[in-house]
């Protein structure tokens, strides 16, 4: 899930919600669940902000859209604004959040969809899969296989699920579909020519590197971007 900045003049409705569960997905990442306020509708790929005074941090909703709780994937940043508090949250602790917002939603066309994520940037693609998206190719760039969150769901939903593991030690860690290296290198060296709908979510460096590959190799493609640092 993705910390991002939001516009200073935030006039979105706000809600105070209680934590219902915290589940660690790996050593540095956890999923937090919150009460779902009445009338809280969202489109898969949209996000919310946690708000505390002037501080705010954005996280994408995992879905499903009809679930009784709101689920978010959070990377624990020891000196972060919200993630330390969220990681220590107990059931019943209350946080202020905004109504959902954002435009990084699934837009379909005749082109094949290719989802590219690094780390917790996988969240919107989990939301897409939870909403029934199928037949897409998904590249998930991580340092180690332990960071391949939501692998079972995504493996089932995707046409091709391609873990791109930058710190892989051997073939047994990478798996038959995996790639030892970064997502931009995979796209540059391994992905077939064509025009695609690329959806990129992750760190700015990945967005920049992958966009360069797309401009060089996949002209006629569309690119939708959700970046964070």
């Amino acid at each position: 899930m993705m910390p991002r900045s939001t516009p200073a003049s935030d006039i979105r409705p706000r809600f105070v919600v209680a934590v219902t569960a915290v589940r660690w997905l790996s050593e540095g990442t956890f999923e937090i669940r919150l009460e779902r306020p009445d009338g809280f509708d969202f489109i898969p790929g949209q996000k919310i902000s946690f708000v505390d005074g002037a501080l705010r941090r954005d996280y994408t909703l995992l879905g499903p859209v009809d679930a009784r709780e709101l689920a978010l994937c959070v990377r624990h940043v020891p000196d972060g604004l919200f993630s330390p508090r969220l990681s220590r949250a107990r059931i019943g602790d209350r946080f202020q959040i905004t109504a959902p917002f954002g435009y990084f939603t699934l837009k379909t066309s005749g082109r094949p969809a290719v989802f590219v994520a690094t780390g917790t940037g996988i969240a919107p693609f989990v939301a897409f899969a939870n909403a029934g998206a199928r037949g897409f190719d998904l590249l998930h760039g991580v340092r180690t296989p332990a960071e391949l969150y939501y692998r079972d769901l995504l493996f089932t939903a995707a046409r091709r699920y391609i873990p791109c593991i930058s710190a892989a030690a051997g073939d047994d860690e990478i798996g038959p579909e995996g790639f030892a290296g970064r997502v931009d290198r995979f796209l540059s060296a391994k992905y077939p020519d064509g025009a695609y709908d690329f959806f990129l979510c992750g760190r700015i460096q990945m967005i920049r590197d992958v966009t360069r590959v797309i401009d060089a190799r996949f002209s006629g493609s569309r690119v939708f971007i959700e970046a964070y640092d």
Binding site: I207, R208, R212
Partner: protein, 190 residues
């Protein structure tokens, strides 16, 4: 979040509807001119006289509307991304017309050409008027290209009307601001 992604360093940018286009594309000119106009309106607001709150309210609403117009232009016609945005309707230009009429009723009849200038706020309003005219030309060029490509002009019509009316608004606003400042119109002596 860093403001720069460096994804435009090779001369391309992504539209709101996802397409990668060169930055000299007619669509980029169109919404770039709208963005410039919005910035000029911001500068105009910054130098308004203290007792012109009504104009400030109108200008801030215009800024919000221009932002919506820019977003609409940044997505290709008929795209799913564009469909998710608020539609630009004829109500946008109708509201501008009502504001023009409200100011015009307070002004002396215009009997000769006037030169841009006067109070700084009025001078900015004239700059807004001319940038608005350029934005109008850029939007019409884009609409013509869309039509030539077989895409509908329908969505452009209320935008063209809005921008056209907006340049008239800035002309009348400049006169109104000068009158408010006690400067009056700057007449052409030709």
């Amino acid at each position: 979040m860093k403001i720069y992604t460096q994804t435009g360093d090779q001369g391309k940018t992504s539209l709101f509807s996802g397409e990668r286009v060169v930055k000299s594309d007619a669509r980029i000119h169109a919404y770039g001119d709208i963005d410039e106009l919005n910035s000029v309106v911001g500068a105009l607001i910054a130098v308004l006289l203290p007792d012109t709150e009504a104009a400030e309210v109108q200008l801030k609403e215009i800024q919000s509307d221009l932002f919506q117009v820019g977003a609409w232009l940044a997505a290709t016609s008929g795209s799913e991304a564009q469909a998710r945005l608020n539609s630009i309707t004829i109500r946008y230009s109708q509201r501008i017309e009502s504001w023009i009429d409200g100011m015009d009723a307070q002004l002396p009849e215009l009997k000769s050409f006037i030169l841009p200038g006067g109070h700084p706020a009025a001078a900015w309003a004239h700059i807004a008027r001319t940038v608005c005219r350029r934005a109008e030309r850029a939007v019409i060029l884009l609409a013509e290209q869309e039509a030539a490509a077989g895409r509908s002009f329908e969505g452009f019509a209320p935008i063209v009307a809005f921008i056209n009316r907006l340049s008239d608004y800035f002309f009348v606003l400049a006169r109104w601001l000068n009158q408010h400042a006690g400067v009056g119109d700057v007449h052409w002596q030709g």
